[in-house]
Structure formats: C-alpha cells, structure tokens
Amino acid sequence: MAQFLSRRLVLLIPVMVGILLITFAIVRLIPGDPCVAMLGEKATPATCNAFRERYGMNDNIMVQFGHYIVNIAQGDFGMSLRFGRPVVDLIAERLPMTIELTIGAMIFSVIAGVGLGIVSALRRNSWLDTLTMILANLGVSMPVFWLGLMLAYLFAIILKGTPISLPPSARFTAGMGLDSLIKVWQLQNVGGFQKFMLDFISSLSLSNAILTGNWSTFLDGLRHIILPSIAVGTIPMATIARITRSSILEVLGQDYVRTARAKGMRESMVITKHVMANALIPIITIIGIETGALLSGAVLTETVFSLPGIGTALVNAILGRDYPVVQGFTLVIALVFVFVNLIVDASYAYLDPRIRLE
C-alpha cells in the first residue's frame, strides 16, 4: 500500500508542475500590458517601471516562474488587487465554506445515490426501478444552477411558513456569524501558517462550533446549507445511482454469487459478504470522478445561494479583473481536486488488492 501511494505521488509531480504552469500562465497570458491591467489606465510609465521591478516582471520568464514556485511554497499567493489583503487570508476565509458545501453535497449524493441504486438493483424492472432511472436521466441532464434556483423557489416561497421551509440564501441568518478563534481565545502575535490554520478552522462551522461551543450558529448554518447541498448533490446522486445499479446487477450475475447461494448462504450474507465489496469498486471510482462535478457544482451553486465561498469570490475576481485572486483560487481548487483524487485512488487500491500491483 505504501509502495502504491509513493508511486502515485511520484507520478503526481509532473501533473503538479503542469498545474503550476497553467496557473502561472493565466495572468501572464492576458492580452495587454499587465501593469495597465493591474493598476489601471492612468498608471504613468514611472509607476509601471516600479511595478515591474517590484513584481520581477523584468526578469527572464523562467526566473519569474521560479519566483512564483518559491512564493507558493512559502505560502505567499500574492495580494488581492480589490481588497488589498493577502490572497492566503481570503483562501482561509472562503475555502472552508466551499469544503462544507462539497462535503454536504457528497454525503447527500452518496447516501441517496447508493441507496436508490441498491433498491433499484434489487427490485429490478419494478416501477420503482423505472422511476429511479428516469429521474436519474433527468438529473444528469439539468443544469445545476437551475436546480438550485428551482429548489430555492420551492422551499422558500411555495413551502413558506411550513415546518420544512428552508432559507434560500446566505450562510447564516443576519446577525449571526462565526467568531474568529484568534479573537475568542485572545491570542497575540499569530502569524504565517498558524494564522492560516486558525482562520481556516474558524471558518469551518463544525470545528468552530466544537471549539467555541457556539451551537446555535452551527445549527443555523446547518439549516442554511441543506438546500445548497441537495442542489449540488442531486446530479452526482443520479450518476451514482445509475452506476450502483448496474454494478450490483453485474456482480449479482457472477458465478461466485451463484455458488454462494447454491451453498445455502442466507441472502443477506450473500449481499454483505460477496456483493457489496465487489460492487463498491466502480461506485468508488464514480464518486471520485463526480467529485470534480461536485466542486464545479459548488462553484456555480454558491453564486445562486449567495454563499461566501471560493466560487463567488472567483467569479467576482474574474469579472473585477483581480488576477492574483483568480490565480490563487484556481491553484487551490486544482490542488484540492488532485488531493481528493489521490484519496479515491488509495481507497480504490484498498478495496481491490489487484490494483496495488499496477
């Protein structure tokens, strides 16, 4: 297992270099003078010269790339042009929101998807099976932002006043919010990586609630995240349900299942011992593949539900020409995606020992 992981990590290095290249190139490839792009049209040649010196743009492009990598390694992602704050701070504040949304959506899509898939497979060709497959087809065909808007309308307007009404936007109700751990614990002189980690943990509502005991805010946040999680998770749920169904059907047709039943094994034992582990392999693969869709869906849904995550910040940064933020956020999302894929590969290798030999 360790060998498998180390081999995967080594293969990851060229991919990481490529990701860094692409994010580096994003800003450099924008047509027009970067000085004018970043400082505005009124920048004088003297200001531009100073700007170029400061950001090392007069150096060789390879040197610039080297500086870029060194800066990233040290945690310096640049300064936001719009907010004048380090991009790292913005990441620490906004990434937890996106992670919460992605995790919420993943929990919903996996539980609902696998559940529906199992029920469909075991009750093959019943009305439930047909209905589930039709809904699954519809599910993968609808735009995620449309689903979010429709759900918001349904739960906020049509079901308004009922016990199951849900708030349609924002992360918390007005007036509520998460307290920074630095403030609550009254820490002094916190900088660098420590500050990043503390800010990050403060912005994750679950860890914040556990560490500061702020349960009412946590529950409020939970209420606000249910609807976006369902919106983001429905489409992957549809794919997972389909793959679960076909995977279980395929395993049920295998010889070893027939042998187990012929031996007289209880059906529940057949399912748990033989069917589930083998059926899980394609399911885990698809969950990994769908994580990309979950991340993209999170980016889109955040704008629909006005959640303060990476998605809204990224879109605003692109439209507002805040290039360091675009660069930093793209890099972070790509890194998260790569990391999640690595975990999925590892769990895949754990479930199917044959993969470890590859």
Binding site: I22, A25, P143, Y153, I157, L300, V315, I333, V338
Partner: protein, 307 residues
C-alpha cells in the same frame, strides 16, 4: 454415406445486412434512443424554423409590454384582449418564448462546434501519441493529465479569464477542456489496433504511415467516438450554459439559455417563469443527447451485447 437432403430445410434466407444498417435498425428499436431521437428531431426543427415559429423578435424590446410580466396563454384563460406571450416577458421587455426558440440555435451550434473541435484536436493528439509512442506519447499524455487535473468547468473559467468573456472564447474554452477525453479514446484505439496483423502487413508492404493511420486504424475508433461525441455534446451545452450564467460566455442581448437565466437570477422569487422555461429547454436538449448517446452505446458496444 447418405447425403442429407438440404432441401428438407427449405430455402434458408441469406440476409446480408451491412453492420451499419444492422446497427441502425437496432437503434431504431431501442426505447430510450427512440425518445432521444424524437426529442432531438423536434429540437432541430425548432432551431431551423425558429424565425417562423417565434412570434416576436428575440432581441428587440416590445415597447408596450410590462417588464417581467407573467405568461399569457389564451387557451389557458388569459383574456383575449391581451397580447399572447406563452412564456411571459423578460426583464428587457422581450418575449421570452421567442428568445427560448432562438436559443435552440445557439445551443445546437455550441454543442456541435465544441465537440467537433475537441474530436479533431484530441484525435490528432491521441493518434500521434498512440502511433508514435515513446517520449511523444509520454509528453502528450502528461499534458492531458494536467488538463484533467482541473475540474472541467474551472479550467474553462480559467481559459475564459485569459481570453476574455464572449461566446467564441467560451466555445474555445469548452473545446479545450473536452480534448483529453477524446485524445485518450483515440490513443487507446490506436494502441489496441497498432500491433494487429493487418497493420503490420500494411507496413511491411510499404504503405505510408499516414495512410495506415487514417484508412486502417482510425476507422476502428468511429464507434466509441460516436458515443462519446453525442454524450460530449450534452456536457458541452451544460458547460456553455453555466459559463453564460456566470457572465463569462455569451453576452447580451444574445438569446442564449444560460445567459437568460443569469440575467434574471435575482427575480427567482418574483418572476420564476423567467427561469423555469430556459432551464426546461436546456434540460430537454441535454436529455435528448444523453438518451441518444446511451442508446448508441447500448447498440454499438459489442461487449454489452448479450447475443
């Protein structure tokens, strides 16, 4: 040795269908492919005859209409005195039905153009990687890995950041993002066919490589390409709608479905009809391509056939 009198069995009909005809007849009888083809046919008709079907101009505002007015359908009870607007009026006093109808043209073109670009470019990359092998293969496939390391929408957003917003740039971005899928497909076909006897024989008698590639190897890729291409059109339409929704794709006043929803996203509680209909249109279009693609996959993939 007794001769078996074969005439006892009667004339055995010697039906020779070409694989293409056989595949097509299987497709016609496949249930979900039927639904997909009917919907797609309807969509193509709507796109082609948009100018005849749409009662109003999709871009010019109607001066007498109230903005974000609810739909008025005479058959469903709207008083005959009011002008009929099946889907209502949008935020710029334009008839939504006409805009949705013209939007079908954009969506079809977007899907077909992006996937064609991705197939041609990805095909070239995959064919070179598969046929030449060695360091070329390694380098090209690492590049594809890097492209696939980003979630596809995010990479498209990054590309649009560089190129600037606009429909053409959005198409290019989505096309680039779709390249790895087709490159891998063609590469695996080339790899699996490259060492077969008939290819080796062609090489031995001196057939030039280009000819071997295009005439002998690549036709094997047509089946998976058709399936992936159809499904790819569905994804491309969704991605283009997403980019336009965010304001990074089609620009006003283009009647593109995603853009229509992006412009009116804040009216979801006051004028939901402005969002329901373009979204339904996207869903129906993507569904038709998905159903057709699934049907094609069931029909054309020999491994899934149980006969």
């Amino acid at each position: 040795m007794t001769d078996i009198n074969l005439s006892l069995f009667g004339e055995i009909p010697h039906k020779r269908q070409t694989p293409l005809v056989e595949a097509f007849s299987r497709l016609i009888h496949h249930r979900s492919a039927q639904a997909g083809m009917v919907m797609l046919g309807f969509l193509i008709l709507v796109a082609v005859f948009a100018a005849q079907i749409a009662p109003y101009d999709p871009i010019v505002p109607i001066k007498t209409a109230k903005r974000r007015d609810v739909p008025c359908i005479h058959l469903l009870g709207c008083p005959a005195g009011q002008p009929e607007h099946f889907f209502g009026i949008d935020g710029n006093s334009r008839d939504l039905f006409s805009r949705v109808v013209f939007g079908s043209r954009f969506s079809l073109v977007i899907g077909i153009v992006t996937v064609s670009f991705a197939i041609v470019t990805g095909g070239l990359v995959g064919a070179m990687a598969g046929y030449l092998g060695g360091w070329v293969d390694n380098l090209l496939m690492r590049c594809m890995d890097v492209l696939m390391a980003f979630p596809s929408l995010l990479l498209a957003i990054a590309i649009v950041t560089v190129l600037g917003p606009g429909l053409i740039n959005a198409l290019l971005a989505i096309g680039i993002v779709s390249i790895p899928r087709f490159a891998r497909l063609i590469r695996s076909t080339v790899l699996s066919v490259k060492e077969l006897d008939y290819v080796t024989a062609s090489r031995a008698i001196g057939v030039p490589s280009m000819r071997i590639l295009f005439v002998h190897i690549l036709p094997n890729a047509i089946t998976p390409l058709v399936v992936q291409g159809t499904l790819g059109i569905a994804t491309a339409i969704l991605d283009a709608a997403a980019l336009s929704f965010l304001g990074l794709g089609a620009e006003k006043p283009t009647p593109e479905w995603g853009l229509m929803m992006g412009e009116e996203r804040n009216s979801v509680f006051s004028a939901p009809h402005l969002l329901i209909f373009p979204g339904l249109a996207i869903m129906m279009t993507v569904l038709s391509f998905n159903l057709l693609g699934d049907g094609l996959r069931d029909v054309l993939d020999p491994r899934l056939r149980t006969e």
